[in-house]
C-alpha cells in the first residue's frame, strides 16, 4: 500500500485507517502487558485495577477493527496484496485482543498476590516478561515496517520463553514441596508464567502473519529454525 496508490483515494484512506487502528491497539496492549507486569513486580494494586479497566477499550477497538475489515472486504473486494493485508489485519487484531485479555488476567493475579506476603523476589518472571514484551514490540515493528527478517527473529525468541516457563515451573515445584503454605501463591505465579508464555505465542502469531502479508507464504505451524537456517 505504501508504494502503489489506488485510484480511489477513499480506499487508500480506509486501508490506512485499519493499519493505524491496529498500531493504536498494539500500543495499548504493549502498555497493558508492561503495566500488568509492573503491577505484579511493584505490588501495585492500583495499577493492576487500571489495567483491568483499560481492557474494555482494547475489546471495543477489536470489534471496531473487525467491522472495518469486513466492510472493506465486502465493499472493495480487495485482491492480492490488499486482500492479504486485510486478512492479516483481522488475525493480528485477534492476537492483540487476546494479549490485552492476558494483560488483564495478569493484573487480576497480581491483585491476589499483592494481598499475600512476597513468596520470593521475582527473578525469572521479570526476564520472561521482558522477552515477551520484546517479542510484542518487535512483531509490531515488523508489521509496521513490513520487516520479514525481524518477524523471523520473533519466531525464534519463542524458545527462550518456553525454557523460562519450564524453569519457573521447576523452581515453584520445589517451593511447593518444601512448604505447603506456598502452594496457593506458587500456583498463581505458575499461571502468570503460563500467561506470559501464551502472550509470546500470540506475538509469534503476529510475526507469522507479517511474513504471510509480505511474502504471501504461510509459515504457521512450522518450526522457527527451519527457515532461519
Amino acid at each position: 500500500m505504501e508504494e502503489k496508490r489506488h485510484i480511489n483515494i477513499h480506499y487508500d484512506k480506509e486501508l490506512r485507517e485499519v493499519k493505524d487502528s491496529l498500531i493504536y491497539v498494539g500500543a495499548l496492549t504493549e502498555k497493558a502487558i508492561e503495566q500488568g507486569m509492573n503491577a505484579l513486580l511493584n505490588r501495585d494494586t492500583e495499577l493492576a485495577r487500571l489495567v483491568i479497566a483499560n481492557d474494555a477499550l482494547i475489546d471495543r477497538l477489536d470489534t471496531e477493527i473487525e467491522e472495518k475489515c469486513i466492510r472493506l472486504l465486502a465493499l472493495r473486494q480487495p485482491a492480492a496484496r490488499d486482500l492479504r493485508f486485510i486478512a492479516t489485519a483481522i488475525k493480528i487484531n485477534g492476537h492483540l485482543e487476546r494479549i490485552g485479555d492476558m494483560a488483564a488476567n495478569i493484573a487480576e493475579k497480581a491483585i491476589i498476590l499483592n494481598q499475600e506476603p512476597l513468596l520470593k523476589p521475582y527473578v525469572d518472571l521479570p526476564r520472561m516478561a521482558e522477552v515477551a514484551q520484546g517479542m510484542i514490540k518487535e512483531s509490531l515493528d515488523a508489521f509496521i515496517n513490513e520487516d520479514v527478517a525481524l518477524a523471523h527473529k520473533v519466531r525464534g525468541d519463542d524458545a527462550i520463553i518456553d525454557n523460562l516457563n519450564e524453569q519457573i515451573f521447576r523452581e515453584l515445584l520445589t517451593f511447593m514441596m518444601e512448604d505447603p503454605h506456598t502452594i496457593h501463591r506458587s500456583l498463581i505465579i505458575s499461571q502468570i508464567s503460563k500467561l506470559l508464555e501464551r502472550v509470546s505465542d500470540h506475538a509469534e502469531g503476529i510475526a507469522d502473519m507479517v511474513i504471510y502479508m509480505v511474502t504471501g507464504q504461510s509459515v504457521r505451524h512450522k518450526p522457527a529454525s527451519a527457515e532461519n537456517g
Partner: protein
C-alpha cells in the same frame, strides 16, 4: 534545435520561391500557347484564303504541291462535306467532314479554326477552314492543318528554364536559410545554455549578447531576472540555514508532520530524547514511529479542535522520558502546505524533582510520626497508671527511649544531609588509605557480622595510592554501606570488600553482598531521601531511609561518585569512585 530552425527557414524560402516560379511559369506558358496558336492560326488562315482564290479543280489537282509550299496539310471538301482531295491521305479513305468544328465555323462565320488532337497523325493540330466561293455561292471548303510542334517545343524550352530557376531557388534558399539560422541560432543557443545553467544552479556571471534586436533585449531581461533571482535565493538560503540551525540546536524536540500526517522532519532533540534515528521515523505516521496511544490521542484531539494542544506524555523505550507536548498548526497557502508541529519538552527531571519533593514531605512526616506515636502512646499508658507497675513501667520507658533515639538518629541524619547539601559541613581533607578507614568502620559492625555468621572477604591491594578525603566522612560512607550489606544479606552470606585502582586516575572501592538484590527499576531512585527499595523490611531493620542518600551526597562532596549494580536474588554491589590525592598536597 539547430536543424529544426534551419529546416523552417529553408522550407519557408523554398515554398515561396517555388510557388512564385510555378505560378509565373504556368501563366506565361498559357499566354505563350494562346499567342503562338493565334499567330499560327492567322498565318494558316491567310494562306488558306490565298489558296481559296484558285479555281476548285486547280486546287484539287495541285493539292500536294500547294500543301508542301504552305508547309501544311491541305484538304478540299465539297459543300456536302465529302473530301475531294487531300494532300496526305487518299480522299476515299476519309469520312464526311461536314461535322468538323472548323467547317461548321467556316460555314457560319466565313472562317473556322480548331485545335485538336489528330488521331491519324497523333499530334496536336490546328485546323483552319475557309469556304470556296463562286460569286456569292459557296461550293466547298478548303482546309489547311498544321501540327503545333512549334508550340510544344517553345513550352518545353520554357519548362526547362523554369526548372533551372527552381533549382537555383532551392540552392539560394538553402544558403539563405543556413546563414540566417546560424546568425539567429548562435545567441539563442547561448540563451538556452545559460537558462540551463540557471536551472541547475551553477550560474557563472551574466549572459553577454551584443545585439540590439529582440534577442539582445531578451538576454538583458534574462540577466536582470537571474540577478534578482540570485538575490532571492541567497536571502532564502540564509534564512533557511538560520532556521535549520535553530531547529537542530534547540534542546526541545520538534516534529513536523505534513498534510498527510506523516513525519516530514525531526530535529536532533527528538533523536536524543527518544533514541529513534532520523531515518527510522521520516515518512511514517506518529503511531508507526512512536506507537504511543496517548500521543496519538493528543494529535486526534488537536485535529478535532484545530486548537493548540498541550499534554504530558511518557515516551521512550529504554529510558522513560516524560514529555510536555505542544501541538500546533503551521498554516500554509494551500491544503498541501498545511502542516502540524509538535514540540516536546523533556520534563522528566522536573517531574522527578516534583515527586522527590512530595515524597520527602510525606516520608519525613511519616518517619517522625511513627516513633512519636509510640512515645505518646506509651507516655499516656504510663500516665493512666502503668507507672505504678515498676516492671512494665521500665519496659515502656525503654521503648520510649528507643523511639526517642530513633527520632534523634533521624534528625541527626537529616542534619548531616542538609549540612552537606548546603555546603555548611566543614570537611578536613587529608591523605588517607582505605584500609585505615575500613578498620574503623568494621569495628562498629563486627559484632553484627559475627552474629549473622556472615563471611567478610577483603581484597585490598597493598600498593594502592592514598586518597584525599575527610576522615569522618569516609568512615561514615563505609559504615553506611557495610550496615546496608549486613542488613540485607541473609545468615551465612558473604560480603566482599575490594579496592583497586580505576581507569581514570581514581580508586574504586566495591562492597558486594550476596543479599536479596534490588529490582532494576528501583536502582536510579536509591539515592533519594527516604527511598526504600523494600519498604517494610528496611524499616523493620531500623533504617532511617537516609543512609544511601548520605553516601551519595558525601561522595559528591568528595568529587567522587557512587554506582549501584544489582541482580535480584544474587546480591548488590556498590562501587565508590574516589579521585586520587594529588602529589603536591
Amino acid at each position: 534545435m539547430k536543424f529544426r530552425l534551419l529546416h523552417k527557414f529553408f522550407f519557408a524560402f523554398l515554398t515561396v520561391g517555388i510557388v512564385v516560379v510555378a505560378v509565373a511559369g504556368f501563366l506565361i506558358e498559357g499566354e505563350l500557347k494562346t499567342d503562338l496558336t493565334m499567330r499560327i492560326g492567322e498565318e494558316t488562315a491567310a494562306e488558306a484564303r490565298i489558296i481559296a482564290l484558285m479555281p476548285t479543280g486547280e486546287i484539287a489537282r495541285q493539292a500536294g504541291e500547294l500543301a508542301e509550299r504552305a508547309r501544311a496539310r491541305l484538304t478540299l471538301i465539297d459543300i456536302a462535306g465529302r473530301v475531294i482531295a487531300d494532300s496526305e491521305a487518299g480522299s476515299r479513305e476519309l469520312d464526311n467532314h461536314l461535322d468538323r468544328p472548323e467547317i461548321q465555323e467556316a460555314l457560319r462565320a466565313g472562317i473556322g479554326k480548331a485545335v485538336r488532337y489528330s488521331l491519324s497523325l497523333k499530334k496536336d493540330m490546328i485546323y483552319v477552314a475557309v469556304p470556296l466561293q463562286e460569286g456569292s455561292r459557296t461550293t466547298g471548303y478548303i482546309r489547311l492543318s498544321r501540327p503545333l510542334t512549334e508550340i510544344a517545343l517553345a513550352t518545353y524550352g520554357m519548362g526547362k528554364t523554369v526548372f533551372a530557376i527552381i533549382l537555383a531557388i532551392v540552392g539560394v534558399s538553402l544558403t539563405i536559410a543556413l546563414l540566417f539560422s546560424l546568425k539567429m541560432l548562435s545567441p539563442i543557443r547561448r540563451l538556452a545554455a545559460f537558462a540551463g545553467q540557471v536551472r541547475t544552479g551553477s550560474i557563472s556571471g551574466t549572459l553577454r549578447i551584443d545585439s540590439r534586436d529582440e534577442i539582445g533585449q531578451l538576454s538583458d531581461s534574462i540577466n536582470e531576472m537571474v540577478s534578482a533571482l540570485q538575490e532571492k535565493i541567497q536571502t532564502a538560503d540564509a534564512e533557511r540555514r538560520k532556521l535549520e540551525s535553530v531547529f537542530s540546536s534547540m534542546r526541545e524536540g520538534v516534529i513536523v508532520l505534513d498534510a498527510e500526517n506523516r513525519i516530514e522532519s525531526v530535529n536532533q532533540g527528538i533523536e536524543e530524547m527518544t533514541g529513534r534515528r532520523h531515518r527510522d521515523v521520516i515518512g511514517k505516521t506518529l503511531l508507526e514511529a512512536f506507537r504511543n496511544s496517548k500521543l496519538h490521542d493528543a494529535l486526534e484531539r488537536f485535529r478535532a479542535t484545530e486548537e493548540t494542544v498541550s499534554e504530558e506524555i511518557g515516551l521512550g523505550d529504554h529510558r522513560p522520558v516524560m514529555m510536555d507536548v505542544t501541538i500546533s498548526a503551521i498554516h500554509g497557502k494551500t491544503e498541501a502546505e498545511r502542516k502540524t508541529m509538535l514540540v516536546f519538552h523533556d520534563v522528566t527531571r522536573l517531574k522527578k524533582l516534583e515527586r522527590i519533593r512530595t515524597d520527602f514531605v510525606a516520608n519525613v512526616t511519616h518517619e517522625i510520626r511513627t516513633p512519636l506515636t509510640a512515645i505518646i502512646g506509651f507516655v499516656e499508658t504510663l500516665q493512666q497508671g502503668a507507672i505504678d507497675d515498676r516492671g512494665k513501667a521500665l519496659e515502656f520507658l525503654r521503648t520510649i527511649h528507643e523511639n526517642a533515639q530513633r527520632l534523634n538518629r533521624l534528625i541527626d541524619d537529616l542534619l548531616i544531609l542538609t549540612g552537606i547539601e548546603l555546603g555548611e559541613t566543614n570537611f578536613h581533607p587529608e591523605r588517607l588509605t582505605i584500609e585505615d578507614a575500613l578498620e574503623q568502620a568494621m569495628a562498629v559492625v563486627a559484632e553484627r557480622i559475627s552474629e549473622k555468621k556472615l563471611k567478610l572477604l577483603k581484597e585490598i591491594r597493598q600498593d594502592l595510592p592514598p586518597i584525599r578525603a575527610d576522615r569522618d566522612s569516609l568512615i561514615q560512607i563505609l559504615l553506611n554501606l557495610l550496615d546496608n550489606a549486613v542488613k540485607f544479606t541473609p545468615e551465612g552470606g558473604t560480603i566482599t570488600f575490594t579496592a583497586s585502582p580505576g581507569a581514570e586516575q581514581d580508586l574504586i572501592v566495591r562492597i558486594a553482598d550476596s543479599g536479596v538484590g534490588i529490582p532494576k527499576g528501583e536502582i536510579p531512585r536509591l539515592g533519594e531521601r527516604f527511598y526504600r527499595a523494600d519498604k517494610t523490611r528496611s524499616r523493620e531493620l531500623g533504617g532511617t531511609g537516609l543512609g544511601l542518600s548520605i553516601v551519595k551526597h558525601l561522595m559528591k562532596a568528595h568529587r567522587g561518585r557512587m554506582v549501584i549494580e544489582s541482580a535480584l536474588g544474587r546480591g548488590t554491589t556498590v562501587s565508590l569512585h574516589f579521585p586520587l590525592a594529588q602529589e603536591t598536597t
